[in-house]
Subunit: 417 residues, 2 copies
Amino acid sequence: MALYVMKFGGSSVGDTERMQRVARRVAEKQDEGHQVIVVVSAMGDTTDDLIDQAKLLSPEPPTREMDMLMTTGEQISIALLSIAIHQLGKKAISFTGWQAGFRTEAVHGKARIIDIRPSRVLEAIKEGNIVVVAGFQGMTEDGEITTFGRGGSDTTAVALAAATSADVCEIYTDVDGIYSTDPRIVKNARKLNEISYDEMLELANLGAAVLHPRAVEYAKHNQVRLVVRSSFNHNEGTVVKEDAHMEQGVVVSGIAYDKNVARISIVGVEHVPGVLAKVFGSLAESKIDVDIIVQSGDQEDKADFSFTVALSDREKALKVIEGLSEEVPFREVTSEDGLVKVSIVGAGMVSHPGVAAQMFDVISKQGVNIEMVSTSEIKVSCVIAGGKLNEVVQALHTAYGLDTDNQAFVGGPKDRR
Amino acid sequence: MALYVMKFGGSSVGDTERMQRVARRVAEKQDEGHQVIVVVSAMGDTTDDLIDQAKLLSPEPPTREMDMLMTTGEQISIALLSIAIHQLGKKAISFTGWQAGFRTEAVHGKARIIDIRPSRVLEAIKEGNIVVVAGFQGMTEDGEITTFGRGGSDTTAVALAAATSADVCEIYTDVDGIYSTDPRIVKNARKLNEISYDEMLELANLGAAVLHPRAVEYAKHNQVRLVVRSSFNHNEGTVVKEDAHMEQGVVVSGIAYDKNVARISIVGVEHVPGVLAKVFGSLAESKIDVDIIVQSGDQEDKADFSFTVALSDREKALKVIEGLSEEVPFREVTSEDGLVKVSIVGAGMVSHPGVAAQMFDVISKQGVNIEMVSTSEIKVSCVIAGGKLNEVVQALHTAYGLDTDNQAFVGGPKDRR
């Protein structure tokens, strides 16, 4: 007997029939002799519909009230899934985030988990229930309802798996597992059988939408064994764990891309000590994640900085920078979209020099300029103009020997929250 | 400065425009210098839609999960209304039932309030917020989400008014106030300016759908001044209070009817001590409300009983009785629908004998048989076949001098929850 956490995203529970399929899948797991905790997202477009309703009333609704609003989506899912499981003759009980014991920091829309007290979940499991937990949500110490932001249900699943010492955390989605790249772009992308946390973390951070980076981080930190698999079939999926088995000769495991990129440039910044700390400290305070940072053009005590943020943070970031114009004198601040970030990821890179050079070569052979570069031990990222994205990804996939004979199914990752 | 509790039903917040109208109405009250707590129901058909979704998955979904499901309706309303109020430049904050401090007994679908701890509500009021509270819901001591059943949002409003020592509790609905009878049936029904708790309680219990009886009871017990008025205009409405001013010569204040009636008859019950206690005790344990009870036909140690219950409780009541056949021997149990209960209500009745006799006379002149009768100090109820309901109500309205020259608008009470 093992304890499983099974997470199903919004498209897996999008309508009554799918809800019933998830119920059967979960019941099946219990019939195999296991204990089961299910984490679900809001059904299909529910979250977007709720956001639309709020936007009809206010262009900038308060985040506290948005959390109040959006958490109903998951609450509807857990109640309905629990009802569907009951109908199969199984004991089931649903818990909201706060009932399942998720305590978060006092931030709305993007709260981090501080603590999980899963006593009610464990008790219900002991009583033979299939426990259905609302993803994406928690509560502050003051009893305020909070959400984790996009991808939050993955985090709920992994965190709950860690807190309950579950044996496996299965992330069910609408693809068969983690692919060497987006099968919508590269027809002969290959499904990976295993991948390490670090590689997955890079891929997740780089826009491979199957697993949320925060969830992977949580899994790595707590050594939670993750399996990404399809809710539509019983194929084996991809195992994410510490020491993934590396295939012979494979240097690069996957190619990722991210269209959600805006570049912000601060031109003619005076060289005063603490300038960088001031700028990026203020951005961090405003909860804006900065990705690649490049300093260039150092002339006569002035420097230029460029950095990338998510498209949705662009306006907010510009406002923050403009608000600093007295403390941090600069000539102008500009922003740019239409860019993409393309990355190669692979634990094998460490022992293979020349991987980055090969990447630059492949990109330039597509007639594309590289705007920014960023590297880590196991990845190289290039920001380029978005126009030839598909060709670049396909060329990199081929160049690093990732093409298979089998055509991956077309469709690709959608099940994000 | 006074503290107002303002309650808006589902049809008052049925869409974005209506939501905005409620927001303006509430903001207006604050602009007049008052403190405001708003209680709202789920939007329009939300509750019914959620029930439909559950029924697609199970014919008899567990009540705990139904509470989990249905409470999302009010949570959506409070978030959206709060957003709409913010948009008017006012401070607003929403609270679910449990956040507002509603503690209930551990029963699902029909829980009673045990205690209200409104500290968060009062604190938010003190900080200048318009506080928006979800009607119809609370939490048990064990952190289980519960609902109060139909009409529960009225109860939330009145209970919160009592717990916060509010000056007035205004129930906004889609009619102008309490009418002498249903304006859909009697065109010249009159709007009452005042009515006593006791009269209102009888009317509410008898199916006048504007105010829920439990809410009136709560108001009477805590002497909460109630005003029932329209959310579509600024007319004065009907004041419900202890000593309502009685109009000269008015004996009967209103005529009510209730179509939600089933009669159950237990035939040939053996005369054993404690039989009645056994039967009605078991029904009470199953949370079935019994209304009129009549004992008849006492022959050779055997008696027949008839009683009425809500139509929706009919099957459940029959099951309970059948389950008692060993302890309480009887010949057979039968049930009947298609009945209605018509009632006359008036505090003036006490000092005017012959009111009941006049009622029987009016009904029989319509060629209708009276099946059951029940009386209290201030009301007389008759159960009759439903076929001639409208004629009977009109005839009674005329007979007791309630007709006005003004035609009441057609539409009538819908805003029930």
